[in-house]
Protein backbone atom coordinates (compact mmCIF):
# COMPACT_ATOMS: atom_id res chain seq x y z
CA UNK A 1 0.00 0.00 0.00
CA UNK A 2 1.10 3.52 -0.76
CA UNK A 3 1.77 5.48 2.38
CA UNK A 4 1.86 9.27 2.50
CA UNK A 5 2.64 10.56 5.95
CA UNK A 6 2.12 14.10 7.14
CA UNK A 7 4.10 14.91 10.24
CA UNK A 8 1.34 16.63 12.20
CA UNK A 9 -2.42 16.11 12.35
CA UNK A 10 -3.09 19.39 14.17
CA UNK A 11 -1.04 22.56 14.51
CA UNK A 12 -1.74 25.84 16.23
CA UNK A 13 0.50 28.76 15.35
CA UNK A 14 0.54 32.50 15.89
CA UNK A 15 0.36 35.17 13.23
CA UNK A 16 3.79 35.93 11.82
CA UNK A 17 5.36 32.59 12.74
CA UNK A 18 7.24 30.55 10.15
CA UNK A 19 5.50 27.20 9.75
CA UNK A 20 6.83 23.97 8.27
CA UNK A 21 4.52 21.19 7.12
CA UNK A 22 6.31 17.96 6.30
CA UNK A 23 5.22 15.15 3.99
CA UNK A 24 6.93 11.83 3.29
CA UNK A 25 5.94 9.13 0.79
CA UNK A 26 7.30 5.62 0.63
CA UNK A 27 6.54 4.61 -2.97
CA UNK A 28 9.35 6.33 -4.85
CA UNK A 29 6.83 8.53 -6.65
CA UNK A 30 8.20 11.28 -8.87
CA UNK A 31 5.39 13.77 -8.28
CA UNK A 32 4.29 15.36 -5.04
CA UNK A 33 1.64 17.98 -4.35
CA UNK A 34 0.39 20.32 -1.64
CA UNK A 35 -3.28 21.32 -1.48
CA UNK A 36 -5.45 23.18 0.94
CA UNK A 37 -9.07 22.26 1.53
CA UNK A 38 -11.60 24.88 2.58
CA UNK A 39 -15.39 24.55 2.91
CA UNK A 40 -17.15 25.29 -0.35
CA UNK A 41 -13.87 25.62 -2.26
CA UNK A 42 -12.77 22.00 -2.60
CA UNK A 43 -9.08 21.17 -2.92
CA UNK A 44 -6.89 23.91 -4.33
CA UNK A 45 -3.35 23.25 -5.51
CA UNK A 46 -0.65 25.31 -3.80
CA UNK A 47 2.59 23.87 -5.21
CA UNK A 48 3.77 20.69 -6.85
CA UNK A 49 7.05 19.04 -7.70
CA UNK A 50 7.99 16.66 -10.50
CA UNK A 51 11.45 15.83 -9.20
CA UNK A 52 14.00 16.59 -6.54
CA UNK A 53 14.77 20.30 -6.31
CA UNK A 54 12.06 21.09 -8.84
CA UNK A 55 8.90 22.98 -7.98
CA UNK A 56 6.00 24.51 -9.83
CA UNK A 57 3.40 26.98 -8.65
CA UNK A 58 -0.15 25.78 -8.40
CA UNK A 59 -3.27 27.90 -8.35
CA UNK A 60 -2.76 29.64 -4.98
CA UNK A 61 1.01 29.87 -4.23
CA UNK A 62 0.97 33.30 -2.59
CA UNK A 63 2.28 33.20 0.97
CA UNK A 64 3.77 29.72 0.57
CA UNK A 65 7.02 28.14 -0.52
CA UNK A 66 8.16 24.54 -0.82
CA UNK A 67 11.27 22.44 -0.57
CA UNK A 68 12.12 19.09 -2.07
CA UNK A 69 15.65 18.07 -1.20
CA UNK A 70 14.94 14.33 -1.30
CA UNK A 71 12.58 12.40 -3.53
CA UNK A 72 10.47 11.08 -0.67
CA UNK A 73 10.02 14.36 1.20
CA UNK A 74 8.11 17.49 0.21
CA UNK A 75 7.83 20.37 2.65
CA UNK A 76 5.39 23.26 2.62
CA UNK A 77 6.57 26.48 4.26
CA UNK A 78 4.44 29.37 5.41
CA UNK A 79 6.96 32.18 5.59
CA UNK A 80 4.85 34.38 7.86
CA UNK A 81 1.61 32.72 8.88
CA UNK A 82 -1.59 34.72 8.62
CA UNK A 83 -5.11 33.98 9.84
CA UNK A 84 -6.35 33.41 6.28
CA UNK A 85 -3.99 30.44 6.07
CA UNK A 86 -6.03 28.58 8.66
CA UNK A 87 -7.06 25.50 6.72
CA UNK A 88 -6.72 21.77 6.17
CA UNK A 89 -3.49 21.03 4.28
CA UNK A 90 -3.23 17.86 2.23
CA UNK A 91 -0.13 16.34 0.71
CA UNK A 92 -0.29 13.86 -2.17
CA UNK A 93 2.09 11.82 -4.28
CA UNK A 94 1.68 10.30 -7.71
CA UNK A 95 3.58 8.00 -10.06
CA UNK A 96 2.46 10.24 -12.90
CA UNK A 97 -0.59 8.38 -14.15
CA UNK A 98 -3.31 10.68 -12.83
CA UNK A 99 -4.10 8.92 -9.57
CA UNK A 100 -2.82 10.77 -6.53
CA UNK A 101 -2.43 9.27 -3.07
CA UNK A 102 -3.13 11.53 -0.14
CA UNK A 103 -1.93 11.85 3.41
CA UNK A 104 -4.35 12.23 6.30
CA UNK A 105 -4.00 16.01 6.33
CA UNK A 106 -2.78 18.67 8.75
CA UNK A 107 -5.35 20.99 10.26
CA UNK A 108 -3.58 24.29 10.82
CA UNK A 109 -5.02 27.06 12.95
CA UNK A 110 -3.33 30.46 12.85
CA UNK A 111 -4.30 32.69 15.75
Amino acid sequence: DVKVTQSSRYLVKRTGEKVFLECVQDMDHENMFWYRQDPGLGLRLIYFSYDVKMKEKGDIPEGYSVSREKKERFSLILESASTNQTSMYLCASSPGQGIQYFGAGTRLSVL
Binding site: G42, F48, Q97, G98
Partner: protein
Protein backbone atom coordinates in the same frame (compact mmCIF):
# COMPACT_ATOMS: atom_id res chain seq x y z
CA UNK B 1 -12.99 30.46 -12.65
CA UNK B 2 -14.08 27.03 -11.49
CA UNK B 3 -13.26 24.56 -14.27
CA UNK B 4 -14.75 21.58 -12.43
CA UNK B 5 -18.09 22.12 -10.73
CA UNK B 6 -20.18 20.09 -8.36
CA UNK B 7 -23.37 22.06 -8.06
CA UNK B 8 -24.94 20.00 -5.28
CA UNK B 9 -23.15 20.56 -1.98
CA UNK B 10 -25.10 17.76 -0.32
CA UNK B 11 -27.20 14.70 -1.09
CA UNK B 12 -29.24 12.48 1.20
CA UNK B 13 -30.21 8.95 0.12
CA UNK B 14 -31.87 6.03 1.80
CA UNK B 15 -29.85 2.87 2.31
CA UNK B 16 -30.30 0.43 -0.59
CA UNK B 17 -31.27 3.12 -3.08
CA UNK B 18 -29.13 4.62 -5.82
CA UNK B 19 -26.92 7.65 -5.16
CA UNK B 20 -26.12 9.84 -8.16
CA UNK B 21 -23.44 12.48 -7.81
CA UNK B 22 -22.91 14.93 -10.63
CA UNK B 23 -19.98 16.91 -11.94
CA UNK B 24 -19.63 19.40 -14.80
CA UNK B 25 -16.47 20.69 -16.42
CA UNK B 26 -15.68 23.47 -18.83
CA UNK B 27 -12.38 22.52 -20.45
CA UNK B 28 -12.75 20.18 -23.43
CA UNK B 29 -9.03 19.37 -23.18
CA UNK B 30 -9.57 17.31 -20.03
CA UNK B 31 -8.96 13.68 -20.94
CA UNK B 32 -9.07 11.80 -17.66
CA UNK B 33 -11.55 12.03 -14.80
CA UNK B 34 -11.48 10.68 -11.28
CA UNK B 35 -13.70 10.42 -8.23
CA UNK B 36 -12.33 10.59 -4.70
CA UNK B 37 -14.04 9.88 -1.41
CA UNK B 38 -13.14 11.69 1.79
CA UNK B 39 -14.08 10.82 5.35
CA UNK B 40 -13.68 13.42 8.12
CA UNK B 41 -10.14 13.69 9.47
CA UNK B 42 -8.78 11.55 6.62
CA UNK B 43 -7.21 12.33 3.28
CA UNK B 44 -9.15 11.72 0.06
CA UNK B 45 -8.95 8.19 -1.32
CA UNK B 46 -9.20 7.29 -4.98
CA UNK B 47 -12.46 5.62 -5.91
CA UNK B 48 -12.84 5.22 -9.67
CA UNK B 49 -11.69 6.87 -12.88
CA UNK B 50 -12.60 7.11 -16.55
CA UNK B 51 -10.71 8.06 -19.67
CA UNK B 52 -12.25 10.38 -22.22
CA UNK B 53 -12.24 7.56 -24.78
CA UNK B 54 -14.86 5.73 -22.74
CA UNK B 55 -18.35 6.66 -21.64
CA UNK B 56 -18.71 4.24 -18.75
CA UNK B 57 -16.54 2.50 -16.19
CA UNK B 58 -17.79 0.15 -13.54
CA UNK B 59 -16.23 -1.18 -10.35
CA UNK B 60 -18.53 -3.15 -8.10
CA UNK B 61 -21.23 -0.85 -6.74
CA UNK B 62 -19.64 2.20 -8.34
CA UNK B 63 -20.15 3.29 -11.95
CA UNK B 64 -18.91 6.47 -13.55
CA UNK B 65 -20.57 7.83 -16.69
CA UNK B 66 -19.02 10.41 -18.99
CA UNK B 67 -20.96 12.55 -21.45
CA UNK B 68 -18.32 14.46 -23.40
CA UNK B 69 -20.74 16.47 -25.50
CA UNK B 70 -22.39 17.80 -22.35
CA UNK B 71 -19.07 18.00 -20.43
CA UNK B 72 -20.72 16.09 -17.64
CA UNK B 73 -19.82 13.09 -15.54
CA UNK B 74 -21.72 11.29 -12.86
CA UNK B 75 -21.00 8.70 -10.19
CA UNK B 76 -23.65 6.11 -9.45
CA UNK B 77 -23.55 4.10 -6.26
CA UNK B 78 -25.95 1.21 -6.07
CA UNK B 79 -27.01 -0.01 -3.64
CA UNK B 80 -26.01 2.80 -1.29
CA UNK B 81 -24.73 1.82 2.14
CA UNK B 82 -24.29 3.86 5.34
CA UNK B 83 -20.51 3.46 5.01
CA UNK B 84 -20.72 5.42 1.75
CA UNK B 85 -21.50 8.56 3.74
CA UNK B 86 -18.61 10.89 2.95
CA UNK B 87 -17.64 13.87 0.82
CA UNK B 88 -17.11 13.00 -2.84
CA UNK B 89 -14.83 15.04 -5.07
CA UNK B 90 -14.65 14.77 -8.82
CA UNK B 91 -11.38 15.72 -10.49
CA UNK B 92 -10.15 16.21 -14.02
CA UNK B 93 -6.79 16.35 -15.69
CA UNK B 94 -5.62 17.45 -19.13
CA UNK B 95 -2.53 15.25 -18.66
CA UNK B 96 -1.00 12.66 -16.35
CA UNK B 97 0.00 15.01 -13.57
CA UNK B 98 -2.06 17.88 -12.19
CA UNK B 99 -5.61 17.38 -10.99
CA UNK B 100 -8.32 20.00 -10.84
CA UNK B 101 -10.88 19.23 -8.17
CA UNK B 102 -14.52 20.15 -7.80
CA UNK B 103 -15.90 21.62 -4.60
CA UNK B 104 -17.28 18.33 -3.31
CA UNK B 105 -20.68 16.80 -2.54
CA UNK B 106 -21.48 15.52 0.93
CA UNK B 107 -23.40 12.25 0.67
CA UNK B 108 -25.41 11.01 3.60
CA UNK B 109 -26.90 7.52 3.44
CA UNK B 110 -29.55 6.96 6.10
CA UNK B 111 -31.12 3.66 7.21
Amino acid sequence: DQQVKQNSPSLSVQEGRISILNCDYTNSMFDYFLWYKKYPAEGPTFLISISSIKDKNEDGRFTVFLNKSAKHLSLHIVPSQPGDSAVYFCAATPGPDKLIFGTGTRLQVFP
